[in-house]
Symmetry: C2
Subunit: 247 residues, 2 copies
């Protein structure tokens, strides 16, 4: 689908990737794993486990995106993936089903990057602000309450019943807001997320999060040329949005 | 379906009817109609028109509830109903399509009852708080931004693709939160809404809004016996919730 013409006007709504873009999933998940392992007196590297757990994320969504498996919320995939990762690290059976389910909820309690509370509030004064994450409504509710984030509604995988970068997720978010894609900006730290949003006509905003994968960890490529806004953090993005003519 | 056993514990989430329970739709809609009519120099009773418009609300949802018409958001029904009411009052053609669409958005800008901002904030400190309205996600976003309400997510008709009192709407709200119906309390000023929620296992809270239909207007019946909580306003409901053992 061709990118729609843009008139340089401010978006009516800004929708956000969450894991990596708004919150530091790696530190948060590793901290939860570390507590759970310590309670069992088990020595294992929680950061390596967190990375391995996140490594299962994309492959686990693929069958749902491709229609080979019915939609189920990310909470369920996180739990399945945790079991697989623990097994592979020789930790299978360490936690019973209830403990595993509780540990899988580590993704509900993640620290926001330091600029996010203030930046999100500034953006919300300018436009509708909502997550467009692969996390479920329940997951986003708990995450926001833990991190002290306020947004206008929760969009994303649950309302589309598929996972990004399936174009239906971005389009379902726009439809729920009764806005055209060209009136909505997708914000992410990941080029692929923005490319998928742009392909169906959304505006795009890139925020780098070089610490997402930890010190010395994998770095996202430099932002692709041509995102509508590239800003160092959310408050800077808010200032750029405030300078645009009102949509 | 039998009402589930209740253990008297606090709900994990409180979900709200909106039109009538949280906001004064009649004053807000009449004010918008009055402005639009005055701009055309037309003398008509805006409160009578507001009542007639609201009178179309329930009949217009029935074919969707009953599966005879595909789901479409309340915004669209409000617009269709406005056209019908204006025609019936000899005002057909007074507004063009764009003006009619804009006037139909009167439901996005309604005053909250005076206790609501504070009461909703108090309840949100105790539990997840979300609207479970027949209004769309877009409608609830605009309504909340106008009224200064903060909630954790938006549940209701759009995520269920049907209208209350269809039991699927209450059950879809619980499912989105990954909670059992017995962990969720529906709050409304209308007995029928609570009866439908209770029939599928939710807890129930009744708040009277005797001014909903204006001075001398139709009064909701006294609260049915047996709602889990009956309170005079939202802050009082919050105090009752705070006194329950944590769920």
């Amino acid at each position: 689908m061709p990118v729609q013409d843009r008139d340089g006007r401010a978006p009516q709504a800004v929708i956000f990737d969450v894991f990596g873009t708004l919150v530091d999933w790696r530190s948060g998940v590793a901290a939860a794993l570390e507590r759970a392992l310590a309670a069992r007196g088990v020595a294992a590297d929680p950061l390596a486990l967190a990375d391995a757990w996140r490594g299962e994320y994309d492959p686990s969504m693929a069958p749902i995106r491709e229609g080979r498996r019915p939609y189920l919320p990310l909470d369920e995939l996180h739990r399945e993936n945790l079991v697989r990762v623990l097994d592979r690290h020789g930790l299978g059976g360490l936690f019973d089903a209830e403990e595993t389910a509780r540990l899988a909820r580590a993704w509900e309690a993640l620290p926001p990057w330091p600029d996010v509370r203030q930046g999100l509030a500034a953006i919300r004064r300018l436009a509708i602000a909502a997550p467009c994450s692969n996390g479920s409504i329940a997951l986003m509710v708990h995450l926001a309450r833990h991190a002290g984030l306020v947004w206008d509604c929760i969009l994303g995988a649950d309302i589309a019943r598929s996972y990004k970068p399936d174009p239906r997720v971005y389009l379902a978010a726009c439809a729920a807001l009764r806005l055209a894609p060209a009136q909505v900006m997708m914000v992410a730290a990941h080029n692929a997320d923005l490319a998928a949003a742009r392909a169906v006509g959304l505006m795009t905003g890139f925020i780098p999060r070089p610490a997402e994968h930890g010190p010395g960890g994998r770095q996202e490529a430099a932002p692709d040329a041509g995102w509508d806004i590239v800003a160092p953090d959310l408050p800077a993005l808010a200032r750029r949005l405030a300078a645009l003519p009102r949509g």
